[in-house]
């Protein structure tokens, strides 16, 4: 069961996810990167069966890339990306749903602000200041409720994520030893830290 976190701060967003890839009693992989960059200044943390997780995120990613190519480099705002994503989830919902729950975070240069969106597999969409996907929400939403405030710095936002990770390590039945944390701000998407290097084959 995947864990995804998102925390918005002043000037950026932090998106974190566990790095496990498992099914039934088997652990396939411990270094999967589930925070997928969608554009130069946005990324989505995805959870769900590996097939849908990869297929859906790449589909959205490539459509966004096509938009930029088709429109002379014009970028889609985070809000537009989120609504596009939701539209695709909604269209597929009554055909063959994408079983993915996501947190999409992005920074918009035009407004110099960051935003975070919660989307689930039923195509709900909500702009939020922080969020969790998976069992993690039962443990961590209350921590975020307490710790989050307006005007956080990047370090403070990452600290909230690490506080949440610590709680999971203590109380969550399923062991999730590795997490990848990415930060999105005016300089783009960068990896802050990871438990296991996704590049290791």
């Amino acid at each position: 069961m995947d864990t995804v976190f998102g925390v918005k701060y002043d000037g950026g967003v932090v998106i974190a996810a566990d790095q496990g890839n498992a099914r039934s009693i088997l652990m396939y992989q411990r270094n999967l990167d589930k925070v997928v960059p969608l554009s130069s200044h946005s990324a989505v943390g995805v959870s769900g069966p590996n097939a849908d997780l990869v297929n859906f995120s790449e589909y959205i990613q490539k459509n966004i890339a096509l938009y930029e190519l088709s429109n002379d480099g014009m970028k889609l705002s985070t809000h537009a990306q989120a609504n596009f994503m939701r539209g695709e989830l909604a269209a597929a919902l009554r055909r063959g749903p994408y079983q993915v729950n996501v947190l999409l975070g992005g920074y918009d240069e035009s407004t110099e602000s960051s935003s975070l969106y919660f989307l689930d597999y039923l195509a709900s969409l909500q702009k939020v200041n922080y969020g969790c996907q998976g069992y993690a929400s039962s443990f961590c939403l209350s921590i975020m409720d307490r710790d989050w405030k307006e005007g956080l710095t990047e370090d403070e936002a990452v600290a909230i994520v690490e506080h949440c990770m610590q709680e999971l390590h203590t109380r969550f039945l399923i062991a999730q030893p590795n997490f990848i944390i990415k930060v999105i701000d005016k300089d783009g998407v960068k990896t802050s830290k990871f438990g296991a290097d996704p590049a290791d084959t």
């Binding site: 429109n71 889609l76 809000h79 537009a80 609504n83 596009f84 539209g87 035009s110």
Partner: protein, 288 residues
């Protein structure tokens, strides 16, 4: 891009002009060119980009006094909250394309929950027109458009498109009857400083395209642009005295409450005021 046909090639053109989907030996699509010619007989439309909005002025051709007006306008059409267009050419053809534009704008907003960037809207309509120059053996649309729009990426923009599916962005332009005369007037007057009383020296003339690096164009505001548009229309309308009933004046500006754009077709009273201002200016210039 399309130059008038020299006499020699007219004889050759006859063999290659029946089908849109056939090139002539000189590499031309005659049906498309004929469509463009058709528009040169249509009511003139002027478009001018201003600092705080866009002005589009159109010649209304009233064919009969018995006609009951069925629409608010036969020249200006709203495409979405932040874009509008004026039409020169076959109105029936235009209606199809305007539907296409409105659908596209709506579908974009449905998909992205945002306003479609103006150029993307124009390009969509133009791609639709282009298909009729390449597939299906159907004739092209006999319509030219002036598109006026606003988006957060590039502010106010003015585009022109023709039956070929080509489009380009303009600071000021004219389509329809006598557009060349209109364009030459715009070339000298757009961006020119307003004449003041102590103007003993020759008035500075600003070039709109040729020397952008040398002279800074002074972009007019909507009020000034309206007067310039009326001036251009009077010139293209066979130089007759400009009359408000024969003109449709349209402005697009940002709404006062900051939410979206304001589309405004001037009332007869407002149009009359602009026309009077232009006549007064012409009269005083004549005196100086």
């Amino acid at each position: 891009f399309f130059s008038p046909t020299p006499l020699l090639s007219l004889t050759m053109a006859r063999r290659y002009d029946a089908s849109t989907t056939t090139f002539s030996p000189e590499g031309r699509l005659h049906q498309v060119e004929y469509a463009i010619e058709a528009i040169n007989n249509a009511g003139t439309c002027v478009g001018i980009l201003a600092s705080d909005g866009i002005v589009m002025a159109s010649e209304k051709r009233v064919t009969s006094g018995l006609l009951a007006p069925s629409k608010t306008s036969e020249k200006t059409y709203k495409l979405c909250d932040h874009a509008a267009c004026t039409v020169a050419g076959l109105t029936a053809d235009a209606n199809i394309l305007i539907d296409q534009a409105r659908l596209r704008a709506g579908r974009y907003t449905y998909q992205y929950q945002e306003a479609i960037p103006v150029e993307q809207l124009v390009e969509h309509v133009c791609n639709y027109k282009q298909a009729y120059t390449q597939y299906g053996g159907l004739r092209p649309f006999g319509v030219a458009f002036l598109f006026a729009g606003y988006d957060s990426h590039h502010g106010f923009q003015l585009y022109q498109s023709d039956p070929s599916g080509n489009y380009s962005g303009w600071k000021a332009t004219v389509i329809g009857a006598n557009n060349q005369a209109g364009k030459s007037l715009l070339k000298t007057e757009y961006g020119a400083k307003p004449k003041s009383d102590d103007d003993d020296d020759a008035p500075e003339e600003m070039e709109t395209e040729e020397d952008p690096a040398e002279e800074e164009i002074r972009v007019p505001d909507v009020t000034e642009a309206l007067r310039l548009a009326v001036k251009v229309l009077s010139k293209t309308m066979d130089g007759t005295v400009p009359s408000p009933e024969k003109m449709e004046l349209f402005t697009m500006t940002l709404a006062e409450d900051g939410e979206g754009c304001a589309h405004h077709i001037l009332t007869e009273e407002e149009s009359k005021k602009v026309v009077d201002d232009v006549e007064a200016e012409a009269a005083s210039a004549g005196d100086a």
